[in-house]
Amino acid sequence: MKSKQYSVKVYETVVTDELKFMEFFDSNYTLFKDHLILIQGSMSSKIKTYLKNKNLKYLNDIDLPKGRTRKALEEELKSEKVDAAVSKQIAQNELNRLSNQLQNNLTVLDEMVRSGREINIHGDLLLLNRVNSGATIKTTGNLIITKVVEGAIRCHGNFMMLTASPKANIVFHDVEVDNSLLEDRLNRVELKNNEIIITPVLKKEINWA
């Protein structure tokens, strides 16, 4: 199978007033001409022909996977007023689930991954050294890297643990992860309900030696 992968900018909106909608796109056309327009809720044929004439690509009523910070998630949780005890139980269950999945064909590597090297792991990988610019790490399972990454990462596991890596190219389940969301400590990156959630896990840097 051949496939390609893109990162696109998406503009998500709801049509309430058709005239205002068209006016908005007329005045901001240059800004949005390369965006994918995502319209939630109903849209009339008038809007459809308008977008077609403007040569704007659009999707209707689709839930796209997105990268999100812990903060955004916490706020959402707050607004939903989830009972504290229940959420704690959920967190505990989640932790148990993750720890069960960790020892799944685990490979442990303690070597520098130099430029030009590609490591393909079928299963989980624990890497205790740095990944240099121009190197690639691919895993079908979970991935933990304790040092800085400057190369590329392709992970298809349930979660990743990474430190701040501003130069890395990180793709998790075919979605590019925004490295600016990784804080200067270990961060857990996981996919939940089609969303990538990034959680900084340790306040202090831990010493693995």
Partner: protein
């Protein structure tokens, strides 16, 4: 029995050949017999930098093919009688090298010299692989910039997988030389610091060489900069050659400019 050292960099133009010429001469000045071999077949430069351009009669390829013997092809340096040179072929291309011939040549040179220094071509093609194949150690030359570091990283990776010594389960010693450091650019953050480079490449530091305007003229004249006792790059090569010959030479911090040093001293008296 001598030691075989390959001088590598991955990227071109970082100063491999200049470093080879200067370190060779530095080693010779320490009363060790040293031979420099130019492996950059088809684009030889080392002969010019050593000022031996017009003395080349036979080249390395002719020796390997048995058209000339080693004694005929070795050229003695004008600057120091301990230093010898074996030129690359300028007319052939890299494909003439093969493992068995290189192995034989290197073994023969090892017999009669304390140091056999191989000047690798830029890039990571077959010419490079043949240079590192039978080396006991490698000197990695980099400039403090990202492209040079990444290419050196790749070159080290290939060294670690293709060297004959590694295939026998041993390790090839790797030493880093950071060339063309400009102190005030490091201070202002425009140039990579050597600590950062060492963290990325993770090999031992052999020495740092400051940027020196005299190097280009020295190369053009065929008189390596190490002969100029006043030049800062020449002094750096003297220190590195000393370390290669087993002397304990302290690392000089060339990443502090005179202005920066003055500020530091002024800070002490505050």
């Amino acid at each position: 029995m001598g030691i075989v050292i390959a001088v590598i960099s991955g990227k071109g133009g970082v100063g491999k050949t200049t470093a080879t010429a200067n370190l060779g001469l530095g080693i010779a000045m320490n009363d060790k017999k040293c031979v420099l071999v130019d492996f950059d077949i088809g684009q030889r430069n080392l002969d010019m930098i050593l000022g031996l351009e017009n003395r080349v009669v036979y080249d390395m390829v002719q020796v390997m093919d048995g058209e000339a013997n080693l004694k005929q092809a070795l050229i003695k340096s004008k600057a120091n009688e301990n230093l010898h040179f074996l030129a690359a072929s300028q007319t052939k291309d890299k494909s003439v090298l093969d493992s068995d011939k290189v192995k034989k040549l290197v073994a023969e040179l090892k017999e009669s010299f304390d140091f056999v220094i191989l000047d690798a071509p830029a890039g990571i093609e077959s010419g490079y692989e043949h240079t590192i194949e039978f080396a006991d150690a490698a000197i990695v030359v980099v400039n403090p910039e990202v492209s040079s570091i990444r290419d050196a990283d790749r070159a080290i990776g290939i060294l670690d997988s293709k060297s004959a010594k590694v295939k026998e389960g041993e390790e090839v010693a790797k030493y880093l030389v950071i060339n063309r450091i400009v102190a005030d650019m490091v201070e202002s953050g425009e140039m990579l610091r050597s600590e950062d480079i060492l963290e990325i490449l993770n090999i031992k530091l052999l020495g740092k060489i400051p940027e020196d305007r005299g190097v280009i003229d020295a190369s053009n004249q065929g008189k390596p900069i190490i002969l100029d006792k006043k030049s800062i790059a020449g002094q750096a090569y003297v220190r590195i050659a000393g370390r290669l010959c087993g002397q304990k030479v302290d690392m000089k911090d060339i990443e502090i400019s005179d202005a920066g040093l003055f500020k530091k001293i002024a800070g002490i008296f505050k």
